[in-house]
């Protein structure tokens, strides 16, 4: 648990912001798909989980939208304001297996783990195709990093008209993050894809069992410990709430 200052804030899409903080141990240890659980004094009771968006030197960044009072308070923070940062938490994406190409599919705030995923995929020797979708051009994240970048918008205002899943090519390694509805569509198309799911989260450390993810084989496990990255075919998508006001990535 780290008490850390906010070191920067910038806008990357309409309503979407990146907040940076000083967190050397997390920056050096974090893997793509892992998250931090952030709290602050006078904030809401529970911490808020965020995928680590970028990790460079002694700093990490998270990306967020004001979806509730908690994220609203975070966006009102100034450089120097303090955050309590717990992490890195959870199990991230796997890059073993010697595949030559990775396709990253992100919808909206689903960009959150993908900058690190692009980094780690390249380190593993893969070429990166990143497909990013949003409702409109203004809501597309302006910071992308892929050997090939494909855009998709619901209204056709930039790139292909339609969803990021529909716009993506096939590949041996597919990583996806976005609203659970989008991930369910990704699971239909690529059962072996690795998906980072969104859930409500209580503790982030495995004790509260609040972040239950329904599994195809029956029962639940914890997004904060066994997840938030899953093999798409392992999740019982019909039983996973499709939209949440706040979550790991949204």
């Amino acid at each position: 648990m780290l008490d850390t200052p906010v070191t920067g804030k910038r806008q990357v899409a309409r309503g979407m912001f990146v907040i940076g903080m000083h967190a050397p141990e997390i920056a050096s240890a974090v893997r793509a798909g892992q998250f931090v659980n952030l709290g602050w004094s006078a904030g809401p009771l529970l911490r808020r989980p965020f995928s680590v968006y970028r990790a460079e030197g002694e700093h990490i960044e998270v990306v967020l939208k004001a979806v509730g009072s908690g994220t609203g308070q975070m966006l009102a923070m100034e450089v120097g304001d303090r955050l309590s940062c717990l992490g890195p938490l959870g199990r991230g994406f796997e890059f073993g297996g010697g595949a030559r190409e990775a396709v990253l599919v992100s919808g909206g705030l689903g960009v959150a783990p993908m900058l690190l995923a692009a980094r780690d995929a390249r380190t593993a020797g893969m070429k990166v195709t990143w497909v990013h979708g949003a409702r409109t051009a203004a809501e597309l994240c302006s910071e992308m990093d892929g050997d090939t970048v494909i855009w998709a918008t619901d209204d056709g205002s930039q790139g292909m008209a339609g969803s990021a899943v529909a716009a993506a090519p096939d590949a041996d390694v597919v990583l996806a993050c976005g609203p659970n509805r989008m991930l369910a569509a990704a699971a239909e198309r690529w059962p072996e894809a690795q998906v980072a799911v969104e859930t409500y989260m209580g503790c982030g450390t495995g004790v509260c069992l609040g972040c239950a993810v329904p599994l195809k084989r029956g029962g639940y496990d914890r997004a904060c410990k066994e997840g938030p990255v899953y093999r798409a075919a392992d999740i019982d998508w019909a039983a996973l709430p499709s939209h949440l006001p706040y979550a790991v990535v949204a």
Partner: protein, 304 residues
């Protein structure tokens, strides 16, 4: 000079008055060792005889200064607990009590027999107050005869300490407290969560899939202090205070109000060091006021 923080609670001598509440510390295996140094005792996540899946998500919802949960006592069952966790508990330097659950008095009794004598199991906390199960749970806790029946059934199967965790959802907690005291409980834990509901205005339905959930966190603290105090006034056995404790001052309120020890729950979700901080804060409070031991803390406990 170190302040003596030890307490005697319901058949146990504990090194400190701050305990981990059931359902907020898992089976103790997720929490780094450094966070356990101040732990007086740990109460395990609630367990049934057989494995349980728990409720469908969403299971939690944040509310003002609190949270609702409906986990539904997800757990691996007694056999897995004995195999996977108890051997670890046997090595630890603080006692672990198992929070036990059943759908009938005989199921509580059977579970007790299964766990009694297992190395690592130091005692039992009978859960007759879980609001998130369809059968059993809170329904035993709001009827004095049912509460006594379950307590007796467990009492007959073990010589280990038996604590009973009470529900706040009763008209007079003193009646239930006296009933379980007479049935052989060694201590009372007051209180479990309040039943609450929160509505998702986008979906026009409850935010939790279980419809209702148990409210915990600072929001319930004054209610909990009052109920723990009422329970303590009603019985001679020790009362362990629970409800929204996040800081030493919160714990001290329960202790002054007549509790012998406290459990910290939801605060651990937010701050994994909460128990250690509460423990250290109590010690500092006592030291600053020149009390040599926790036993010297003045209590406000007029008897009924």
């Amino acid at each position: 000079m170190t302040t003596d923080m030890s307490v005697a609670v319901g058949g146990m001598k504990l090194r400190g008055p701050v305990l981990a509440a059931s359902g907020t510390f898992g089976y103790g295996t997720e929490v780094p060792l450094v966070e356990r140094r101040a732990l007086g005792a740990m109460v395990s996540k609630g367990i049934f005889l057989r494995p349980r899946e728990g409720t469908a998500p969403p299971r939690i919802a944040e509310t003002p200064s609190g949270m609702l949960n409906a986990i539904g006592l997800q757990g691996p069952g007694a056999d897995a607990l004995v195999r996977d966790y108890a051997p670890q508990w046997a090595e630890w330097d603080f006692p672990v009590l198992v929070n036990i659950n059943g759908e009938s008095a005989s199921e509580y009794a059977e579970l007790t027999s299964r766990l009694d004598g297992v190395p690592g199991v130091a005692g039992f906390e009978i859960n007759i107050s879980c609001p998130n199960v369809e059968q059993g749970g809170m329904f035993f806790g709001n009827d004095p005869r049912a509460a006594a029946t379950v307590t007796e059934a467990v009492r007959k199967r073990t010589k280990l300490p038996v604590w009973v965790k009470l529900t706040p959802m009763v008209s007079d907690i003193g009646v239930i407290a006296r009933a379980v005291e007479s049935a052989g409980a060694d201590a009372l834990c007051a209180i479990n969560t309040f039943v609450g509901m929160s509505i998702d205005l986008n979906a026009y339905r409850p935010r939790l899939s279980f419809r209702t959930g148990g409210l915990s966190g600072p929001a319930i603290r004054p209610l909990a202090v009052h109920l723990a105090h009422q329970a303590a006034r009603a019985v001679r056995i020790p009362v362990i205070g629970i409800g929204g404790i996040a800081r030493a001052e919160d714990a001290l309120e329960f202790l002054v109000a007549g509790c012998t020890a406290v459990q910290v729950g939801t605060a651990t979700f937010v701050n994994p060091k909460a128990i250690a901080e509460v423990h250290d804060g109590i010690a500092s409070f006592l030291e600053a006021r020149a009390f040599r031991s926790l036993a010297d803390l003045p209590r406000y406990l007029p008897r009924d």
